[in-house]
Point group: C2
Chain length 363, copies 2
Amino acid sequence: MEKNYRIAVLPGDGIGTEVMHAAQAVLEAVQPRVGRALALEWLPAGAQHYLDSGVALPETTLRRCESADAILFGAMGLPHVRGADGTEIIPQLDLRMHFDLYAGVRPIRTFRGLPTPLSNPKAEHIDLVLVRESTEGLFYARGRGDVRGDQEVFDTMRITRHGTTRICEFAFRLAARRAERLGRAGRVTNVDKANVFASMAFFRKVFEEVAARHPAVAADSGYVDAMALNLVMKPWTYDVLVTENMFGDILSDLIAALVGGMGMAPSGDIGDRHALFQPAHGTAPDIAGQGKANPTAMLLSAAMMLEWLAERSGDTALADGAALIERAVEQVFATGQVRPMEFGGMHSTADITRAATNALRAA
Amino acid sequence: MEKNYRIAVLPGDGIGTEVMHAAQAVLEAVQPRVGRALALEWLPAGAQHYLDSGVALPETTLRRCESADAILFGAMGLPHVRGADGTEIIPQLDLRMHFDLYAGVRPIRTFRGLPTPLSNPKAEHIDLVLVRESTEGLFYARGRGDVRGDQEVFDTMRITRHGTTRICEFAFRLAARRAERLGRAGRVTNVDKANVFASMAFFRKVFEEVAARHPAVAADSGYVDAMALNLVMKPWTYDVLVTENMFGDILSDLIAALVGGMGMAPSGDIGDRHALFQPAHGTAPDIAGQGKANPTAMLLSAAMMLEWLAERSGDTALADGAALIERAVEQVFATGQVRPMEFGGMHSTADITRAATNALRAA
Ligand SMILES: CC(C)[C@H](C(=O)O)[C@@H](O)C(=O)O
Ligand SMILES: CC(C)[C@H](C(=O)O)[C@@H](O)C(=O)O
């Protein structure tokens, strides 16, 4: 093996652990194919760990993440595990802040063989990436809520030039890379509420400044309400979306629905020095422990991780690994024979994992 | 004629005036059928009026609205007409505050004969009402943005016990009325982000207190991101939704998409003393003046107005009028022969208006 990479693995709570086993199996199958070794180090963190130890995200786990080449994350949080202000214990939000993972990258696309909830045949061509700013916006308010007795609560959102510039730059660079790969012009659509909020008018202004520096990529803007409608009515017309933290949270789930739900939606939380990859779904306590979870989003997140590592290190073998996983997942569903349970299918986490590793080994 | 009602009419900008003519025609057809007279008083206001006079919402217009039995509103705003902080001139937001119209009532349902963007045949059964809190939440920040040089902007959202209690009470009363009319159990689903924000944890707490006072209506809560997904994947499972101002803005457009877009989505902005009814769409400058606008949302808004006046006054003839309009609209589309342009049809504003008034007269 030429090169080794160390991956910090945070399986977390509920189905997080189950889908992480799937990722591990697929990453093990991919290593010999590309001549690279990935050392996966499983680390404790999460709501259950908080219950057991009083700490959700131990210092040693943070330090191992710090020195790892990338972080692979399952899912964390349990509805009944809450802090003093009534909000949940959510280590993924702490990780975004701690490692300054400002770009929440949430790609979705339709997979042949799996139904979409949309009737228009153009839904086949859905292939878009939502880029969510993940370190400020309304989430700036987290832990800072101004609670005045039992009468009123204020939460403040913050938009900075620095934060907006870097997320918009990220989106334009991504669109340019996609344009090259897909062999067509790139486009970034900014989603805001500039008609009502000063912070959002500022966001749009900065977006337009950044857009002017990227003349090869088309740029436009829409209001978040109209975009929620457009994303249901004509999602196949969009390429890259960029938006504030809270809007990105909502719209990324919306677009995941267009391709069949959270089980198909991978994500990356990417900063300038660190990156974390996780399925967009949560811990799903209702089905945890039953082997029913769809591991696809987790497998695609592992592929995103390899892609990111390849870009960062220049080691193209890892990009080949990412492509192998993507193609294996495509093959699993293409014939219509394997179908996850949330699509009305019968196939368990283990079934889908096995199908993917088989496809990968046969490729 | 037994009774007279005075309606303040604010046609506004762009297609606002065009669809208001449709509403006028239909309301004229309905009056002899129910033995009531509606005096429609057209009043100036809007972005164009702001350009012409320097005032978007003249004092005399406000006073006529104040003394009217109800306000019927077209659409207002033009993208290039903006205030000093870069946000738009939007009189409808001022009206919500001025008349304390705290409940944004946004019903949607599928109409036989018109396609929906969803492939599941259950989409036929979509019939839900989103209740949006319209006087606080993130919109509290409007006009209060804290702009710090060209570097950062803060916008603050406010959730009060008073505001949350009254919007939740409104939602439960509405669900109880719908349950009676539809002959089944009612349900209110609260949409928040209680896992992250103190204000939203407070909103959920107050919702649960109100729910406890309405044991006959089922109550549950979901996070706004998950709900954006659920509303695409299984909208037919919901009845009444209640949510914060900004979330309500986004989700009401999302659900309008499920039944074919804003042209089908009426709305009411309802307070304890006043109420305003308007189509959920905007001024659509791109098609203004061409007679292409779908007047359905405006007609259904006029029906909502009659319904509200009936409830308020106890004059059931007006409820009959509302039902007549609703049934006329249903008939227009049921055979599939009349189809608005945004559904790929050929029918103009005038065509649809004529079909509706004919159906109403023949009923
Ligand atoms: C778990 C939750 C706090 C989180 C968020 O709101 O960011 C999740 O929904 C996401 O989108 O990553
Ligand atoms: C025009 C706009 C400011 C308004 C809002 O955001 O409330 C509209 O989208 C609505 O939903 O009534």
